[in-house]
């Protein structure tokens, strides 16, 4: 315990170590939260975006908080649901009911939305219900938008209704929300008519228990805390889940390469002879192999699974220059008197390697270990940039790549690039800073001022 206490005392004298350790703990907390809040299958399902999971979010919307820095606020995205308001049901005949619901909302934004859609949720056995949708403006004037039979999963895209567009003289989502005085004129820009709007959904159902509900989605220019991408996916999900993946990838790869390399170097130096020779020759051959091209080949020809990539990365990163450095260190320790003493009292080989040889070098290992993590976190991102990221998982690298390939830089969707990039940067820098600080703690020969 006193050792731990002493260590913490020492660490406290390095502010960068304290700051970076705090950031790392926060990242771990986020990672744990992500795994608990969104279980992995759910995360994969959401990120694949099938089954219209993301029908209620706009495309390429900026994060909502960016409005804080704008004088002219961008409209937010909101959904008006039937469940929010009470509907009335009246029986009209033997097998005919009329269900009327009002979707009311107060439009207070200063700009027009991007798009409006109505999604239906219908239940029936054989006979499809008939639905009529009427738009009610703040002054009470009504306009019929849609009448027809609806099936489950059907939607009415208000913004794509050409008849409505012709009647309004403007794009439907503009014309419906604009002051009528300003619409349909060439030289006047339409202005928002703020106030209480309503969407009346009248459904004629022909079966007992048949129900119709719907929701109106008004797509704005901003959404959520992280915005959305080109497939309407909420970036918050991807960024949140990217945290555990990045940490896991970095940690596992570093643990695998440093610990295996360390143990192998220890065995090689201890046993010497042909064991050492083989290890040395493998290292030399491995240095000739091109690291990234091999990873790309494995990804292209074989598998992109994150586990396969991890295994290949570890296999290629064990026999490197680092192993030679470890070997040099072990060589020095091997001849020290305490090892000789251990040998004299008859300690076994494995005892000497694991109890005497390796612990002696661990102070050198720990900083290297911490500095190595960001390297692998960024390697995952690099593979994603080359299109070799795991096909199912949301990762920071994949978001960054999507943004890059989706022309985020050309079209000004900077949030899309900056969010994953800054997270990568924070993770990389904090591990790296901690590593450099630990280096100074454990290797006081080069302690800075």
């Amino acid at each position: 315990m006193t050792i731990v206490k002493k260590f913490l005392e020492t660490i406290r004298r390095y502010p960068t170590a304290v700051i970076s350790a705090t950031i790392i703990l926060a990242l771990i907390a986020v990672a744990v939260y992500a795994v608990i809040a969104i279980p992995l299958p759910r995360a994969i399902y959401l990120w694949r975006g099938a089954d219209q999971v993301w029908s209620d979010t706009p495309r390429n919307a900026q994060p909502a908080w960016t409005n804080l820095f704008r004088s002219k606020k961008l409209p937010e995205t909101f959904v008006v649901r039937v469940d929010d308001v009470d509907g009335t049901v009246e029986q009209l005949g033997d097998a005919m009911w009329r269900e009327t619901t009002l979707l009311t909302f107060d439009y207070k934004e200063s700009a027009f939305p991007r798009e409006m859609n109505v999604f239906f949720d219908v239940e029936f056995e054989t006979r499809e219900p008939q639905v009529t949708i009427t738009w009610i403006s703040p002054d009470g004037s009504e306009r019929r938008l849609f009448r027809g039979n609806v099936r489950p999963g059907q939607r009415y895209a208000i913004s794509q209704d050409k008849t409505l567009q012709r009647a309004l003289g403007e794009l439907p989502h503009v014309g419906l929300l604009a002051d009528p005085e300003t619409t349909g004129q060439e030289d006047v820009d339409p202005e928002v008519w703020k106030g209480e709007y309503a969407l009346k959904v009248e459904a004629l159902t022909f079966e007992e228990g048949s129900t119709v509900s719907g929701r109106l989605v008004v797509y704005g220019d901003v959404y959520g805390i992280a915005g959305t991408d080109h497939l309407r996916r909420d970036l918050a999900v991807g960024l949140l889940w990217g945290t555990p993946i990045a940490l896991m990838f970095g940690l596992l790869a570093t643990i695998g390469t440093t610990i295996l390399g360390f143990v192998i170097a220890a065995f090689g130096t201890w046993f010497g002879g042909w064991v050492d020779q083989i290890i040395q020759r493998i290292t030399e051959v491995n240095l000739m192999l091109p690291f990234l091209p091999i990873l790309i080949m494995v990804g292209t020809f074989y598998s992109r699974s994150i586990w396969v990539m991890l295994a290949v990365i570890i296999a290629l990163s064990i026999f490197t220059a680092a192993l030679k450095a470890y070997r040099a260190m072990f060589m020095q320790v091997k001849n020290s008197p305490y090892i000789e003493a251990a040998r004299a009292y008859g300690a076994s080989n494995s005892r000497i390697i694991f109890r005497y040889l390796i612990p002696k070098i661990i102070p050198v290992l720990i900083p290297n270990f911490v500095i190595g993590i960001p390297q692998f976190v960024f390697l995952e991102a690099s593979l994603s940039v080359l299109g070799l990221g795991d096909p199912t998982l949301p990762t920071w690298g994949k978001i960054l790549t999507n943004a890059y390939q989706g022309g985020a830089l050309y079209r000004g969707y900077y949030y899309w690039v900056l969010e994953p990039a800054i997270l990568l940067m924070i993770t990389g820098l904090s591990f790296s800073m901690l590593g450099f600080a630990l280096d100074r703690v454990f290797n006081p020969r080069l302690r800075g001022i």
Binding site: Q277, M288, F301, L409, M425, L429
Partner: protein, 378 residues
């Protein structure tokens, strides 16, 4: 090492000198030969492993056969084959497929072919590409690779040399001012290199191309390319600015940190302290007592810097759309273009082995501490 023969009394001192010299030359020749052969074997094994990986142990053959079958199928869908009976057409298709398999050597088992690949690669007869062509239309692997070499060397040669000499001078400067504000700042900046150059590249494109609009997003030349040589050079230079800065941001900080540590260790040696005590000028101390003993390490790093510049950088080239060898290699992998992949790997392996070999010999000649003779006895 051969045993020292006992010197016979009638030998004159001169004879001893010549014999000593010839023994040294003999030892040296043997050392060179052993080292050369060892490196050659290493290269061969490395290239052979790459051949297996590039073919996924023969799995790529299946992919290529399927691609050929599909292409032949499409070829025989044309109107000129409509009059044939299905069986006639099938025979023709089979023949065509066999011809194509034969052309690509797919009719022989992979194991046998892997050795002929190896022999061809090691003799640098890189052969012809399967699908890729150079911009001039050549199908020689050599032409395809050579065409991209200058663009890669212009960018990454400059970038690596800048990093190398930049870090050398900055770290020398810093080690002289150990503990000063600048020194501490450099140490604090070292974690910056945790992020790779392409990552900074995206930020730089965002700032200088998207927002400021003063530098190009990527590529190597303006469209249309300038007519004059000067205009051409200026255009290339303009496109090089962002990749170069990105490369510096990603590599310089750690290089400075490592060299600074290296120089600090060497400037705390006793002989340096003695030189200081003698009152020598700091310039002289730096040149004679710090730089000279560390020269072998610096030369090694310099040689490796040049070798690695050859490979280019796949991702940095991708992010900046730079038409270099890295991107070529990436495209080749995407097209299962094994000859180009192997060609690139073997040239890199040879360059690396050659520089290691030359450095070994150089050390054996200039550094008395490097022992000649049996290797691996460090």
């Amino acid at each position: 090492m051969a045993e020292q023969p006992a010197r016979t009394p009638e030998e004159t001192p001169e004879k001893t000198v010549t014999r000593g010299l010839s023994r040294t030359v003999g030892k040296f020749a043997r050392y060179t030969a052993v080292r050369g052969i060892a490196l050659l074997i290493t290269v061969a094994i490395g290239v052979y492993i790459s051949i297996w990986i590039a073919n996924m142990g023969g799995y790529v053959d299946k992919i290529r056969k399927a691609q050929i079958a599909e292409a032949v199928g499409i070829q025989f869908r044309g109107p000129q084959f409509r009059d044939m009976t299905p069986s006639e057409r099938r025979i023709l298709m089979e023949e065509q497929k066999e011809r194509e398999y034969k052309r690509l050597g797919l009719d022989k088992p992979f194991l046998g072919r892997s050795f002929s690949y190896l022999a061809n690669a090691l003799t640098l007869s890189l052969g012809r590409t399967e699908r890729m062509t150079s911009d001039t239309g050549s199908r020689q692997v050599r032409a395809v690779l050579l065409e991209r070499l200058p663009t890669t060397l212009v960018l990454f040669g400059t970038a690596n040399l800048l990093t190398f000499f930049g870090s050398l001078f900055i770290s020398l400067f810093l080690s002289r001012r150990y503990g000063s504000f600048l020194d501490r700042a450099a140490v604090a900046l070292a974690p910056m290199s945790a992020a790779p150059p392409w990552f900074y590249g995206i930020f730089l494109i965002l700032i200088f191309a998207s927002i400021a609009g003063i530098l190009p997003y990527g590529g190597m030349l303006d469209a249309p390319p300038p007519e004059t040589t000067l205009g051409y050079a200026l255009s290339v230079l303009k496109h090089m600015v962002l990749p170069l800065i990105a490369w510096m941001l990603g590599t310089l900080a750690i290089a400075v940190y490592a060299r600074r540590t290296f120089f600090l260790i060497h400037s705390s040696e006793d002989y340096v302290e003695l030189a200081k005590a003698k009152g020598l000028r700091s310039n002289t101390i730096e040149r004679r007592y710090i730089l000279r003993p560390t020269l072998p390490t610096i030369i090694t790093q310099f040689a490796l810097t040049l070798v690695f510049a050859w490979q280019g950088a796949i991702i940095t080239e991708t992010v900046f759309q730079w038409p270099g060898l890295g991107r070529l290699l990436w495209q080749a992998i995407g097209l299962f273009e094994v000859p180009v992949i192997i060609g690139s790997v073997v040239i890199f392996a040879y360059l690396l082995a050659l520089s290691v070999f030359l450095l070994d010999i150089l050390y054996a000649m200039i550094d008395p501490r490097v022992k000649l003779g049996a290797e691996g006895q460090s």
